[in-house]
């Protein structure tokens, strides 16, 4: 087991290079790495390409802070509060390249990335106008034939983000980590990304993990840095630990209307944690 990877939040944030591609854990209002994201936008990171299946809160924080060059997602929603407010603004202004993806295709691309193969065949997708855009505009999907039967399928190019930022329930200092409850694609993201930063509610000794009878969501082999981040998903939900704080989310949306979403996040997420 090579050397420990437990680092400070500031140290881990410095690992993320401007201009790189990034994916994060969770969906809309569940298990987003909000503390890490707040630290990223405080640093003033720029030109990130963001990719995820159904992101929400933390994506919008990055959008609000002007940190993004492109967004690739199957849906970017604040659900009953409407489209993620800052994402919508950037997309409608044309201030960001917006690549609309499809859930099954994001999963296929992450699977290819995780397995170390350059593409993944997928069913579905044919008939949607998204197929034309992905084939011709973005080069991310391509119609292929099954080499055995000739059946038409879609090949999705492997997705290998430069960074995956994954918030988990517990991790040891080596990155052996456990996610409880819904996993979403986080275990694929951990395997598909070139570098993985784990933020964890709890840092535990090996002894807590031993005897654990299930697969680890991440192992030391996959992980580059571990950050202790209690309440590191607030105001999104951390299943088993805390619920989504919809009042805070509404407050964030209100701040967005006034163009103060970045300040809201730094003040309410980052400064409160310190």
């Amino acid at each position: 087991m090579p050397s420990p990877k437990l680092v400070s939040l500031d140290y881990a944030v410095e690992m993320v290079e401007p201009g790189s591609s990034i994916t994060i854990s969770g969906i809309t209002f569940v298990r987003n790495p909000t503390l890490f994201t707040a630290a990223l936008i405080k640093k003033g990171i720029k030109d990130l390409c963001f990719i995820d299946r159904e992101p929400g809160f933390a994506l919008d924080m990055l959008a609000a802070a002007g940190s993004l060059r492109c967004i690739r997602a199957a849906m970017a929603s604040f659900e009953l509060y409407g489209l993620a407010p800052n994402v919508r603004r950037l997309a409608e202004e044309g201030a960001v390249e917006y690549i609309e993806d499809a859930c099954g295709a994001v999963i296929a691309g992450l699977r290819a990335g995780a397995q170390g193969v350059p593409f993944m065949p997928a069913r579905g997708l044919i008939g949607s106008q998204l197929l034309e855009l992905h084939e011709k505009k973005w080069g991310t999907w391509r119609r292929i034939r099954d080499p055995f039967t000739g059946e038409e399928l879609v090949a999705v190019k492997a997705i290998n983000p430069d960074y995956a930022i994954i918030h988990v329930h517990l991790s040891d200092e080596y990155g052996n980590a456990v996610i409880e409850g819904p996993r979403f694609e986080d275990e694929l993201k951990i395997r598909a990304a070139k570098r993985v930063i784990i933020t964890a509610e709890r840092i535990v000794d090996w002894e807590v993990l031993r005897g654990f009878k299930h697969t680890l969501s991440a192992t030391s082999i996959h992980v580059d840095a571990v950050v202790h981040a209690p309440r590191g998903a607030w105001p999104t939900a951390m299943p088993g630990h805390y619920e989504a704080d919809y009042n805070a989310i509404k407050d964030y949306i209100e701040s967005s209307r006034e163009g103060r979403a970045r300040e809201w996040a730094i003040k309410n997420i980052l400064q409160k944690a310190q």
Binding site: F29, S77, S128, L130, L188
Partner: protein
Amino acid sequence: MSSPRPTDNMIKCMADLIDNGDVVYHGLTSPLPVLAMVFARRILKRDFTWASVIEHIEPIVEKVKLKPSTGDPYVEPEPLGILTTIDAFDIAAKGKLTTMFFGAAQVDEEGNINLTVIGDYDKPRVKLPGGAATAYLFPLVPKIILWARHEPRVLVRHVDFITGPGRLRIEKGFKHLLCTNKALIEFTSKGPVLRRLLPGASIDDVLKSASMRIIVPDKVDVLEPVSEEEMKVIEEHDPQGIRYLQKMG
């Protein structure tokens, strides 16, 4: 207790489309599907498998409680276990995920839906939240239940952008249904056919409030309005009336 509104009747109409033996999945921004699943299980006693974007398989239905996000794990507590979306979509790839709900910003006469953009993709008049699983699941799921507001700009002749291809579904012989706050419509190879009126809606109203041309057959069913007892169950799961934020009336 309040009296039922069109939203509540719509929930009942959607619930009735769930059959015994179905494997049902709902996504994000889906308060009506969640309540339809509750209604189908608790009131209609339909025996189906409950799966969702929350990844909680078979939660305790009695404890389901709406929140502003239908991706929130606390909406569907104490599941039997986790069924990941990855796993659910693989089940879909094999045709075993039988039933799925999709909201839509536009639906057209072929049953195509648009969740991507109003206007041109590169110069959007309105950016929509994105199709999520639409493009992937439309060609795979044997029964899709769309839900949308019954308005001319929603029920259109041709969608601005085909996020989910309806025609392909009809060619495959899949069930392709639309619940609005006025009617239940089925997409067929001949076009959209009116199957059921919701309480209070007339055929004339259904036709006039849509840009799409809806076929009216000889026999059109009328949904029995949500009863007091049924309303009690809906309110038990959504005491704050989150369902009305969908603005279906």
